[in-house]
Subunit: 172 residues, 2 copies
């Protein structure tokens, strides 16, 4: 099995991170992988907003706690968040998001880093307390946050894969 | 740069395929990569319907030509199509589809095969002439076809990458 296949089959979602920050060179490779994902009609209308500073992350977390009415919400506390936003009028935004998220997940895994898909901002990004923070971060008003990468070093060894239950049918 | 990153950065969408069929072992690896993609809440509700027989492909092409009112429509004539369908009630279906499509694209590229995302079935899968064929192929009535992989050997050398125009912002 080639290195690419090994990486595809061993990547796992991780929800507990160490506090040490991601190396700049690794982050740049991960973002480059994201930029190289295909997009419908090659539109590439996505923006990647990298949130690393502790006070910035805390500001977003507090807005989310309010929006979700959950005082414990914390994105699983990774040292880095990558917000993937896209034009709200782009009907292929979520399909494009899946491609670019997966590219970043796989690049991160190949560099010894771990990730998980954060879905909550999709439903809260237009709530006033959250949008105020997104405005400060430079997320365009025309964008929704389709998904967020939680990125860092896994605290624990990667778990075994869950059972694969997807169905394959052959039409010869 | 590691092999995974090289594969991520050199994969291209291809729209002209040779007629020779994909090897069974390669197809199985590509489908396995698709099954190993993450899905929202690990639901894995996708189905992969592999269409390879010439008469079956032709039947689908003819239904699409009718549905699109385009007598030249042909999915770019790859030897293999992989229809990725998902529950129509799954609000994360397109995000999940992006992840699994990208896994299959990257696995294929690592094996010397080429791919492109086919978007047309998304809008036509519930039109009667197309649904009749999907029924025959075993695509569940509860599913929509979110996307299709066109898979085969590229006829021509892979093109250079298009300019990357996605925006990156850092919030320190």
């Amino acid at each position: 099995m080639n290195e690419v296949m090994k990486n595809l089959l061993t990547r796992r979602s991780v929800r507990a991170f160490r506090s040490d920050q991601v190396q700049k060179e690794d982050l740049e490779q991960i973002l480059q992988a994201g930029l190289y994902a295909p997009s419908a009609m090659n539109r590439q209308t996505w923006q990647f907003t990298v949130v690393q500073g502790e006070s910035s992350r805390q500001k977003l977390i507090e807005a989310m706690q309010k929006a979700l009415n959950n005082p414990n919400y914390n994105f699983y506390q990774p040292p880095t968040l990558i917000l993937v936003s896209n034009e709200r009028t782009n009907s292929n935004a979520f399909a494009d998001t899946g491609c670019t998220m997966e590219n970043m997940f796989l690049a991160a895994h190949s560099l010894g880093l771990s990730t998980v898909w954060i879905n909550q901002l999709k439903d809260t990004c237009d709530m006033p307390e959250v949008r105020k923070v997104l405005d400060e971060f430079g997320v365009p008003a025309s964008h929704i946050v389709c998904a967020t990468v939680a990125l860092g070093y896994a605290k624990d060894p990667l778990p075994a894969p869950r059972e694969r239950t997807g169905v394959i049918k052959y039409v010869r």
